[in-house]
C-alpha cells in the first residue's frame, strides 16, 4: 500500500527560482535561503519518496479567469514547464503519476470533494520554484509529482477548514492505493506578504512565527480561522498559506516539525519547514 512519509511546507516566491537559476547559492543576500533548504534536500535524498504531492496555486498562467477552478488535480504522466513571460525555466518537464492521480481523483470524488481534473497543461513557479531547491533536476527528476492546484487568487477562496478536510481525504486516498510507494506531501505559499494596494509590502514576522508553531501543534486552530483573518494577519496574498493546511491535514495529527527556516529579505517572507 502507498504511504505518506512526511510533509514539507514552503514558500513559492518566484525570486527563489530566479536565485536558483542564476546560481546565487553563495551570494550573501541569498545564502540564508539556500542553507535553509539543505536539510530538506538531504531528507528527500535519504528517504527517496517516489512521489511528491504538491498543493500549490497557479498564478493566472495556465488557468485564466474565464474558467478558474477551486481545486484542480493533474492526472498526467508529464507536465511541461509554463512560460510566465520570460520563456521556460531551463529544467526538464515534470514527471507525473497518472495512475496514482486517477486513483486519488476517484477517491476524493467518492469522498464528496468534486474536483476539476486537468491533463497536458504546463505548470508554473508555484510548484517548481521551491522544487528546484529540494530536488535535483539533473540529469532528470528523481521521482514523480502529483499537482493539486488551489484557487487562492479569485475570491471566494476555499475555506481554511475545507482545505484541512481535503488534506485528510487525500491521506485516505493515498493510503488506499494498492501499489507500494512512498509519498511526501508539499504545501506551498506565503508566508506574510501583500503585493497590492497601499498596504503593499506588508509583513508580520511575529504572526509568521506563530503560524509556523500552530501548523505543527494546533492546525485545528488555523483551520478554524477565516480567510479574512489570514488576510488581516498575513496580508491579502499571504492568505495563500491555507495550502499548508492541505499538506498538514494529510499528515498524522502527531506529526512533528523537524526543521524550519525563515528569511524575509524583500516583500515576501520565505519559509520552509519539514514534518515527519
Amino acid at each position: 500500500m502507498a504511504k505518506i512519509i512526511g510533509g514539507i511546507g514552503t514558500s513559492h516566491v518566484p525570486t527563489i527560482a530566479m536565485a536558483f537559476d542564476k546560481g546565487k547559492n553563495e551570494d550573501p543576500d541569498w545564502k540564508p535561503l539556500f542553507k535553509g533548504y539543505q536539510p530538506v534536500a538531504r531528507w528527500l535524498q535519504e528517504k527517496k519518496p517516489d512521489v511528491l504531492f504538491f498543493c500549490f496555486n497557479d498564478h493566472a498562467t495556465t488557468f485564466f479567469f474565464d474558467h478558474y477552478p477551486t481545486f484542480a488535480l493533474g492526472v498526467s504522466d508529464e507536465y511541461r514547464i509554463a512560460d510566465e513571460g520570460l520563456g521556460q525555466r531551463p529544467i526538464p518537464p515534470l514527471k507525473g503519476d497518472a495512475a496514482l492521480s486517477r486513483h486519488i481523483a476517484a477517491s476524493l470524488v467518492d469522498d464528496e470533494f468534486d474536483l476539476t481534473v486537468f491533463q497536458d497543461l504546463p505548470l508554473d513557479h508555484g510548484l517548481h520554484s521551491p522544487l528546484t531547491m529540494m530536488w535535483p533536476s539533473k540529469p532528470d527528476w528523481p521521482g514523480r509529482v502529483v499537482p493539486l492546484v488551489v484557487n487562492v487568487l479569485q475570491h471566494p477562496l476555499p475555506k481554511p477548514s475545507r482545505c484541512y478536510k481535503l488534506g485528510k481525504a487525500i491521506r485516505k486516498a493515498i493510503e488506499s492505493y494498492p501499489q507500494d510507494l512512498t509519498v511526501a506531501m508539499v504545501g506551498t505559499g506565503g508566508l506574510s506578504h501583500q503585493m497590492i494596494g497601499e498596504r503593499a509590502g506588508f509583513n508580520d514576522e511575529k504572526w509568521d512565527l506563530e503560524f509556523l508553531e500552530l501548523i505543527e501543534r494546533d492546525p485545528e486552530r488555523l483551520a478554524g480561522m477565516s480567510i479574512q483573518d489570514f488576510m488581516r494577519l498575513g496580508g491579502n496574498e499571504g492568505a495563500e498559506v491555507i495550502m499548508w493546511l492541505i499538506m498538514r491535514g494529510a499528515l498524522r495529527p502527531d506529526a512533528r516539525k523537524v526543521h524550519q527556516n525563515y528569511y524575509l529579505p524583500m516583500t515576501t517572507a520565505m519559509a520552509v519547514a519539514l514534518f515527519e
Binding site: 543576500d29 475570491h155 471566494p156 516583500t267
Partner: protein, 105 residues
Amino acid sequence: MSYVFDLERSARGLRLNRFLHSLTQKHVRALFLKNPDDAMQGLSEQEKDMVRRLDWKAMQDHGASFFCLEKLARTKGVSNPEMVAHFRGESLEAFLRTRRVPGAK
C-alpha cells in the same frame, strides 16, 4: 478590505486581464514589443493608455490582477519591487530602504 480580487473586480478587469495574460505567449510578447497597438487591439483607449504608460496603479484600480500584471512586468523587464513601490506611491529607492535585504530583488 481593499483591493480584494473578487468576482466583481474580475468581471470588470476581464478584458485587460485577458490581454495581460496573453503575454505568456512568446509571439504575443514579440508583437507587443515591436508594435504595441497591434497587440492591444481588443482594449479600450483608456486601457491602452494605462498599458503604454505602465501605470501599474491605474491598471490595478481598473481591475487588473497582480498576477496578470506580472506578465506585463516580465515582458517589459520591470521587477515586482518596482511595482510594489508604485502601488505604495514611492520611489523604488525609498521602498528598498524599508527592506531588510535590498539587494535580494
